[in-house]
C-alpha cells in the first residue's frame, strides 16, 4: 500500500453501449475505488473520453492502463499524476433566498470566492463554482451555516500538459 497517490486515468474509446460497464469492471476486479468518473465526447469526432480519478500506486496504475487498452473498443488509455494535468471540478450550491437578503455576509462569500450566481428565484438561488477541490470545498464550508438546500460536485475533468496524439494513432490503424 506504499506510494499511494491520486491518478487521473484518461481513456479514449469508441462510443458504444456497455463500455462504461467494461471500463468500471476493470477497477472493480482489482478492488480499486473510483473516486470520480466523467465521460464526454473528446476532441475527435465519435471518440469518447473517460476521465477517472482513483488512488493507487504506480504499478497498479500501469497495470490498469494495460488492462484498459486491452479492451477491444478502447483506443488508448493513460495514467497521469496531478502534476501532469490541468484539472477542474464544478460544484452547484442551492441556498434558500431569504439567506441572501437576511445575511449580508453571504454576498461577501460569493464575491470573494469568484463564484457565479446561476439563477435567483423567490425561494432559492443557485451558485456555481468551478475550480480545484479545495476551492469548492472552502465555499461549501463557508455556505454551510446559511441553510444549504442542495450541494453537488462534478467529477474531475482534466487535460494533460503533454500532447495525446490520438488522431495520429487512429489514422495509423
Amino acid at each position: 500500500m506504499a506510494n499511494q497517490k491520486s491518478y487521473t486515468i484518461s481513456v479514449y474509446t469508441e462510443n458504444n453501449v456497455g463500455l462504461l460497464n467494461r471500463v468500471s469492471s476493470i477497477f472493480l476486479k482489482r478492488h480499486i475505488n473510483i473516486e470520480s468518473l466523467t465521460t464526454s465526447q473528446s476532441e475527435i469526432e465519435n471518440v469518447n473520453r473517460f476521465v477517472i480519478v482513483a488512488t493507487m500506486d504506480d504499478s497498479q496504475a500501469r497495470k490498469i492502463v494495460g488492462q484498459l487498452e486491452k479492451q477491444i473498443e478502447v483506443i488508448k488509455a493513460y495514467a497521469h499524476t496531478d502534476e501532469e494535468t490541468i484539472y477542474q471540478e464544478s460544484a452547484l450550491f442551492k441556498v434558500a433566498s431569504d439567506s441572501l437578503f437576511d445575511e449580508r455576509q453571504i454576498q461577501n462569500i460569493i464575491k470573494d470566492s469568484h463564484a457565479n450566481i446561476v439563477t435567483v428565484s423567490r425561494e432559492f438561488f443557485v451558485i456555481e463554482k468551478t475550480g480545484r477541490r479545495h476551492e469548492t470545498e472552502k465555499l461549501y464550508q463557508d455556505l454551510k451555516p446559511y441553510r444549504l438546500l442542495q450541494f453537488v460536485r462534478s467529477g474531475r475533468i482534466s487535460v494533460t500538459k503533454e500532447p495525446m496524439n490520438i488522431s495520429e494513432m487512429l489514422t495509423a490503424f
Partner: protein, 577 residues
C-alpha cells in the same frame, strides 16, 4: 429438406438478399467456415434453431445436456483444432449456464463465440420471462460482447466476433441477439472483418528489443526457457524447436504449454509450478537468464513472487502487452506472436549446447525419480496409483492420444506423466480450474480430431459435475474413452486438508454411485478395475473398443501429488514429500 437446402446453396451466389436475422446468423457461421456448433434450444433462440433445421446438412448442431457442456465442448473442439468453437443457448438460465465455460475460455485464451437469444427489444428491462442481462454478466469474462437489437447489425457484428475471438491473444466473445432481430428481415450481405481501428491484434516486434534479447541469450551461461500455450496458439512449435535446438537451452513447460514440445525431446526438462518437476522449479532460482515464451507467470507457476528468479535476467516473448511486467518484472520484453518472434530471433542467436547445465536438470530428475516417481509409476504397495494408470495409457497409445483432463489430483498426475508426441494434445482447464470440464471438452476434442484417440482422465468428483454429458455421447456416438480415477475423495482438497489443516477432512469424502451401472444406462461399454493385474488388459480393451468406453479405476484413497510448492512458498522450496 433437400429442396430447401438447394435453394439456400443457389442463393448464396447472389451478393445481397432479403432474409431473416435468424437465417443471417446461420449464413454468417457458414461464411466463417463453421460446420459444427454445440448448444441447447429455448424460447428466445427458437427462430435460429428453426433455421438450423433447414441448414442441418451444412451445419451440424450437437445437443449437449447442459449449456455448460456446450461451452466446454466448444472449448475442447477449439483447443484440438485451433479453430473458433461455437456454443449457442437461449436467454436467461441458458445464457447464465454458459458463464463458467466463458470464464474458462477467457483465462485460458480459447477462441470461442457464444450466441445467446434474448427477449424482444420492446421487453428489454421489463423483467420478462427468461430475461437476464447476460451482456452485463459476461462483461468481465469476455474478450468482447455485444447485444444485437436490429437484424441489420448481424453480419457486421458476427464478422467482428469471429475476428476478435481468433486474432491476437484469442478469447471468448458473446453475442446476445434479441428475438425481434432474429425474426426481422433485411438485405443480407457478408464481409469478413480484417481490422478494427481500436484493436491491434498483434503488436509489432521491436527490433531493438529483439537484439537485446539475443545479446542476453548469447551471453548466458545457465539459460532456462519456460514456455506456455502461446507456442501452441501461435502455431510456433517448429520455430520453437528450431530455437531451442540451436541454442541448446533446457526448456520447461507450463501446464498449458504441454504437448507443444515432444515429451521425449532431450531439451524438454518437464513442468514448472506447484506440482511441476523438481529440477525446473529448483533451477528457476539458479538460472542466469530466464526466457518466458508465451506464458503469463501465473501464481501456480511462480510461487512466491518475492523469491522468484531474482538472480536472473528475465526475457518475455509475449503477444499481450498487458501481461508484460504484470507479475514478474522483465529486463527485456519482445512483443509479438511467438511464431514470428522466434523465427526472427533464430539468426541472431549463437549455436550452443549447455551440456553441464542440462546435466543439472537430469541430476534433479534422478532425485525426483527416487523420492517420488518410482513409487508412483512402479508401486510396490497394494493400491493402484494414478501414475501407473497414465504409464499404462502411454505404453498403449505411444503418446499419440489427445489427453483431456479435469481438475484435481488426477489432472496433475495426467499432466506430469502423460507423454505427447503431437501438439494440441493436452486439453485441460488450467487457469480457472473448472471441475466438470473434461467430459464435455473430450466430446468436442473427439469431434475436432475424429481420427485420433481421445482419452478423458477425470476424478470421481469432477465426473459428477457434468456426468449428464454421457447423454451427448449416447446420442452422437462420440467415441470418447473415459477414465475415472476413483479415490472416493475430492482428492486435491483432501491432500491440502492433510498437509495444512491437520487432516480435518471437511466435506471431501464422497459416497459414489455405481458408475458402471450409470455408464451402461447410457449404453456405454464399461469396466471397473480394482486390482493392479487387471489394469493393462482393461486399458487394452478400452483402446480396442470401437465406440466410447468407460473405465473406472479404483485407486489408492489417500495418495498425494508430489513434488509440491506450498502456497506462498518459493519455487526453490519445492517439497518432495
Amino acid at each position: 429438406m433437400k429442396a430447401q437446402t438447394q435453394t439456400a446453396n443457389l442463393t448464396i451466389e447472389k451478393k445481397t438478399q432479403h432474409i431473416s436475422g435468424a437465417e443471417a446468423v446461420i449464413r454468417c457461421l457458414l461464411a466463417e467456415g463453421v460446420d459444427l456448433i454445440y448448444g441447447y434450444p429455448g424460447g428466445a433462440i427458437m427462430p435460429i434453431y428453426d433455421e438450423l433445421y433447414k441448414y442441418q446438412d451444412q451445419l451440424r448442431h450437437v445437443l449437449t445436456r447442459h449449456e455448460q457442456g456446450a461451452t466446454h465442448s466448444a472449448q475442447g473442439f477449439a483447443r484440438v483444432t485451433g479453430k473458433v468453437g461455437v456454443a449457442m443457448a437461449t436467454s436467461g438460465p441458458g445464457a447464465t449456464n454458459l458463464v463458467t465455460g466463458i470464464a474458462d475460455a477467457q483465462i485460458d485464451s480459447t477462441p470461442m463465440v457464444c450466441i445467446t437469444g434474448q427477449v424482444g427489444k420492446h421487453l428489454l428491462g421489463s423483467d420478462a420471462f427468461q430475461e437476464t442481462d447476460i451482456v452485463g454478466i459476461s462483461t468481465p469474462v469476455t474478450k468482447w460482447n455485444y447485444q444485437i437489437t436490429e437484424a441489420s447489425e448481424i453480419p457486421e457484428v458476427l464478422a467482428k466476433a469471429f475476428y476478435i475471438a481468433r486474432s491476437g491473444r484469442p478469447g471468448p466473445v458473446l453475442i446476445d441477439i434479441t428475438k425481434n432481430a432474429q425474426f426481422d428481415t433485411f438485405d443480407f450481405e457478408y464481409e469478413k472483418c480484417t481490422s478494427i481501428r481500436s484493436y491491434k491484434a498483434v503488436p509489432d516486434i521491436d527490433k531493438g528489443q529483439l537484439l537485446e534479447a539475443a545479446k542476453l541469450i548469447n551471453a548466458a551461461k545457465k539459460p532456462m526457457i519456460v514456455f506456455g500455450q502461446g507456442v501452441i496458439l501461435g502455431e510456433a512449435e517448429e520455430e520453437f524447436k528450431a530455437f531451442i535446438e540451436k541454442t541448446g537451452i533446457p526448456s520447461a513447460w507450463t501446464i498449458l504449454g504441454l504437448s507443444a514440445l515432444d515429451s521425449k525431446h532431450p531439451l524438454n526438462v518437464g513442468m514448472v509450478g506447484m506440482h511441476g518437476n523438481y529440477g525446473p522449479n529448483k533451477l528457476t532460482n539458479e538460472c542466469d537468464v530466464l526466457i518466458a515464451v508465451g506464458m503469463r507467470f501465473d501464481d501456480r507457476v511462480t510461487g512466491n513472487l518475492a523469491t522468484y528468479a531474482k538472480q536472473a535476467k528475465v526475457i518475455h516473448f509475449e503477444i499481450d502487452p498487458a501481461e508484460v511486467d504484470k507479475n514478474v518484472k522483465t529486463d527485456v520484453a519482445v512483443l509479438g506472436n511467438a511464431k514470428e518472434t522466434l523465427a526472427k530471433i533464430l539468426p541472431l542467436v549463437n549455436e550452443n549446447s549447455h551440456k553441464e547445465w542440462l546435466q543439472e536438470y537430469r541430476s534433479h530428475d534422478t532425485i525426483e525419480f527416487e523420492k517420488v516417481i518410482k513409487d508412483e509409476l512402479y508401486p510396490t504397495k497394494e493400491g493402484i496409483t494414478m501414475g501407473e494408470v497414465m504409464k499404462e495409457i502411454n505404453s498403449k497409445t505411444g503418446g499419440k492420444a489427445v489427453i483431456v483432463s479435469d481438475v484435481g489430483q488426477h489432472q496433475m498426475m495426467a499432466c506430469r506423466y502423460a507423454e505427447f508426441t503431437q501438439t494440441k494434445s493436452n486439453i485441460t482447464s488450467g487457469g480457472l480450474g473448472t471441475m466438470g470440464f473434461a467430459l464435455p471438452a473430450a466430446i468436442g476434442a473427439k469431434m475436432g480430431a475424429p481420427d485420433r484417440e481421445v482419452i478423458a482422465i477425470i476424478g470421481d468428483g469432477g465426473y459428477q459435475m457434468t456426468i449428464q454429458e454421457l447423454g451427448t455421447i449416447l446420442q452422437t456416438k462420440a467415441a470418447v474413452k473415459i477414465v475415472v480415477l476413483n479415490n472416493e475423495f475430492l482428492g486435491m482438497v483432501r491432500q491440502w486438508q492433510q498437509l495444512f489443516f491437520d487432516k480435518r477432512y471437511a466435506s471431501t469424502e464422497m459416497v459414489n454411485p455405481d458408475f458402471i451401472t450409470i455408464a451402461k444406462g447410457y449404453h456405454i461399454n464399461a469396466k471397473r478395475v480394482t486390482k493392479r493385474e487387471e489394469l493393462a488388459s482393461a486399458v487394452e480393451e478400452m483402446l480396442s473398443t470401437e465406440g466410447s468406453y468407460f473405465l473406472e479405476v479404483c485407486v489408492e484413497k489417500e495418495n498425494n501429488v508430489f513434488p509440491m510448492i506450498p502456497t506462498g512458498a518459493s519455487v526453490s522450496d519445492v517439497r518432495l514429500s
